[in-house]
Amino acid sequence: MSAAAARSPAASRPSWRERRELVLVAVTAASAGVVGLVNPGFLTFENLRFVALNSVVLSIVALGQTLVIAMRGIDLSVAPLMGLSAMVCGLLAQSHGLPLWGAVGIALALGLALGTLNGVLVAALNIPPIITTLGTYSLFGGLTFLYSDGTQVDQVPPAYAAFGNAGPLGLPVPTPVLVLVLVTAACWFALNHSRFGRAVLAVGNNAAAAYNAGLRVTAIRIQVYALSGLLACFSGLVFVCYTGSATVTTGTGDHVELQSIAVALVGGTLIAGGRANVVGTVLASLFLSTVLTALVFLQVPPIWYSAGEGLMILVAVRGGTRRAGGTA
């Protein structure tokens, strides 16, 4: 409503976008530089590699979240989905020797199925997204618990560990980082240069208008939630490969759902829908990873990390929307 009215015409869009991405790059580089001056260990290749690798899991989840928010939805169930996929893939690999390609297939299928469930509940049964994904949050978390049956993943086969940490063909860049680049490129193309992306943004801007213009709103909604589930589960697989571990609190324990919303918004996606910034999301996730690692190097007590995240959300969203007492 008023959020749409406050948005300036299309002319201001590119400049605004460019600024958000440039600001993120500048702030990230500046904070890395400052920490590097205090503690030169921060700027070693090894550590920067770690910072990048560390941001991959959240970035992949947040890309799905970006699509959902662009459509004026929200997906809280990404955290338990990520944990469920990490647990299922990890346990199958650990105790049944599931090959890596099999794990990829299982993660993608799981995400697609459960994401579609979210989509059907939201789009076909008209349950508000926050309620739907709050409900499936408990459901998926429960599934993880039941599946794990009290066990946890603490060792994965070498192929998994190599996929999660080393680079392909001896490259110095870890495979997950390359995968993230591919996924980001795909999301960027889908959102900005495809019919599907325009439909997503149209639904986010004004669902009723999109419907009247002939878009299949229900189908688009289901597809976007399915994609979000798919990416969340894929990131769970990356997580278990990268860390070699998974427990019942993987994903939910770190509040990945809140973090993914935070980085999507910091990246320049509007909570009111209709505008998304895929590259911004990834840069914001990289920024978060940089800051969190820097805090360790600066020996800041860990208790203040989440306060920093909270401030980051409020500062990033400030001015994005001007709307008092809107819908949840």
């Binding site: 076909a124 049964l125 309620i131 709050l134 989440s306 809107g326 949840a328």
Partner: protein, 360 residues
């Protein structure tokens, strides 16, 4: 059916004045409550071992209900408060620290805690109104801030071992005031919850403030144009939600005889489930406190019954989520005017309805 009645259903006419604030949804929930209690009483040995045990079970879930009461005001305005868990933790931890570090009387410290909750709610409202940030994101952000502050305030060894009078708040029963035959029967928590339930129900269904609250949620623009100071209404709603959350945190502290910086985290999801299952529309402007009270009892007894029947905590949580989704889906199916369920399903398959203009 009150469920689809517009806000002006609360208009003061002699007929409405006499009517109880209950509708079809509340009655359905009451039936469900009876089914849950009788069902578990028959099927789960240990669920019902006398009236005292049944009433005693409520001590395990009434803090959730206190949060739900405050939260229902916020949700009626069309907002949401995700910070209730962190507010509960922070106020309980600070009150406990006031008592243990500074020797403040425990009841005075508790009062400070509740006041602090109100202030944190004011901060939420300030962030929403002054900075123009949507309630969902604003309270998400503040919940991180409050949570960090709670961890910092708790320190390595959070206080525990409160005086006996204070622990009675969470685990004691009302004696002396009631007839001797009821001694040891009615938990203090239940009395506190009942008092607030009556208060909030009267506030929403009978007071001018309640009417304004529902109107703001039903249509913020219409409310503003009719001269209502919507900002004030929102500020009050968030402050009350914060105060109720910290009261719940203090009851939890009393119940466990200790505080932890993450003790409030469990409150949020269940409290939202209680409010929404109680029939309050997540878009605001629709719902009754009576419904929320019954749904608190339904979900609470269901959860306790499943735990007693031997289900694990996670399975119980999972089922709570499923119930939430199923109830809203069923409500949506029946809520559209005039036609039966089968017609609705058929209509959905044949021709999807145009979506709402702004589903969030």
């Amino acid at each position: 059916m009150d469920m689809r009645a517009p806000a002006n259903a609360n208009a003061v006419t002699p007929r409405n004045r006499r009517r109880l604030p209950v509708g079809g949804w509340e009655l359905a929930l009451t039936g469900l409550l009876a089914a849950v209690v009788v069902g578990f009483g028959a099927a789960a040995p240990g669920f019902y071992t006398g009236p005292a045990s049944l009433l005693g079970l409520t001590e395990n879930f009434l803090p959730f209900g206190l949060v739900a009461l405050g939260l229902s005001l916020v949700i009626l305005t069309g907002g949401i408060d995700l910070s209730v868990g962190a507010v509960a933790s922070l106020s309980a931890v600070l009150a406990a620290q006031l008592w243990s570090r500074f020797g403040v009387d425990i009841w005075a410290a508790a009062a400070v805690g509740v006041a602090l909750g109100g202030v944190l709610g004011l901060v939420n409202a300030g962030v929403i109104l002054r900075l123009g940030i949507e309630p969902l994101i604003a309270t998400l952000g503040t919940s991180f801030l409050y949570g960090s502050a709670a961890v910092a305030a708790a320190g390595a060894e959070p206080p525990s071992g409160f005086p006996g009078g204070f622990t009675a708040l969470g685990t004691g029963t009302v004696d002396g005031v009631l007839p001797a035959s009821l001694a040891g029967l009615v938990p203090i928590q239940l009395v506190v919850f009942a008092a607030f339930a009556v208060l909030f129900s009267a506030l929403v269904a009978r007071s001018p403030f309640g009417r304004v609250l529902v109107m703001v949620g039903y249509s913020p623009d219409a409310a503003r144009y009719s001269g209502i100071r919507t900002g004030r209404v929102l500020v009050t709603a968030y402050a009350v939600s914060g105060a109720m959350a910290s009261l719940a945190g203090l009851v939890l502290a009393s119940y466990y005889d200790a505080v932890r910086p993450d003790m409030g985290d469990v409150l949020l999801l269940t409290a939202i489930t209680m409010v929404v299952l109680g029939g309050v529309s997540i878009f605001g402007g629709e719902g009754t406190v009576a419904g929320v009270v019954v749904s608190v009892l339904v979900l609470g007894f269901l959860r306790q019954g499943m735990l007693i029947a031997g289900f694990s905590d996670m399975v119980t949580t999972m089922l709570t989520g499923a119930i939430l989704l199923a109830s809203i889906a069923v409500k949506n199916l029946f809520n559209r005017r005039g036609t039966g369920l089968a017609n609705q399903i058929w209509a959905m398959i044949r021709r999807p309805e145009p979506p709402r203009a702004n589903p969030s």
